[in-house]
Subunit: 181 residues, 2 copies
Amino acid sequence: MDTKTLCLGALTFGDASGYEIKKCLEDSIGHFLEVSYAAIYPALADLHKQGLVHCQEVRQRTRPDKKMYRLTPAGRQAFAAALLQSQGRHKIRSEFLALVFFAEFLPASHLQRIVDERLTEFDQFVQLAEEWLAGEGLNAQPGARFAAGYGLAVFRAARDYVRENRHLLDEAATAVAAREA
Amino acid sequence: MDTKTLCLGALTFGDASGYEIKKCLEDSIGHFLEVSYAAIYPALADLHKQGLVHCQEVRQRTRPDKKMYRLTPAGRQAFAAALLQSQGRHKIRSEFLALVFFAEFLPASHLQRIVDERLTEFDQFVQLAEEWLAGEGLNAQPGARFAAGYGLAVFRAARDYVRENRHLLDEAATAVAAREA
DNA sequence: GTAGATATATGTCAGTGTGATATATAAACC
DNA sequence: GGTTTATATATCACACTGACATATATCTAC
């Protein structure tokens, strides 16, 4: 599932510029998959070369000009084919857990600050997901609802675990303080 | 938290070769952070150039020769400094959820096969983590136990959610079947 | 016994993605 | 009047991934 495929996917919701594609992906699956402009713009240029999207420049008075992209029939086919090709892997890259794993090498205050940041993030996501599922989500596709529900369940579990067990990390830091004294 | 830092971290457990470092990291935080040989070997070469690790070639009769690396005092300091520098972000790149999000474009059978694979992976992790926490984990550092407990909580939540809600995805696929008929 | 898989061990390479930076306009805010 | 936020596109150095290449030894199944 490379950036090209994600762009094609975003365009199944309707025509969009690179900027709008980024917003679309962020708002939908942004919590599970990051996309950056540095990946999107070259991807769109490639897709255009391959004839998978149509591109039209739009002059705007009140905003900078933009390039609107539209899926071609070939693009729609290529998207379906790419989805079938994807293995559907679920990867996590957590520097947070790496830091926690090496807790013995960090000052307690630093560690707790990092924990607080993660907790804030988890809380925010839980709230957003709850609101979405109770509001707009009611009209969304089943796949989108499933994904949001998954996120809610997992982030809730993460939040609760961290809240209830963060005190264990004080022991880790204490161990180092004692060692260094 | 780049590969160099992870290598230094692995070496705080004792001297090791690149191959052994990979195993060490896989066995400890492998479920939250992937590392590949293609990243490790150049990282070790760099660390050696910078004087952060000491390197000695070891000739072996029954196995291929290996290069054993050891943390230098400068390396230990650099590790602590790099940890302090790390923001501790928690990123997820889930093609699984992306596929689910675009469920309407996939055949039901394909989708359910992908769900089965994820479920198997979640189950395996839950079992591994339970065993580790009840066994070796009892002697591990608090940080390592916290990380394992976090993984257990989150993967359990993921497993339970997917088990109880996978039927929602049949609706998605049915919608497409109806549309295409 | 021998064929094939698995484990040990190190490395490269093309392609892809990230984070930072650059540029420019307009609206909203204080 | 100045700062921040939003719109809009793009490039660059660097890091990482997945696939491949190479070599030896052990373990398993027939």
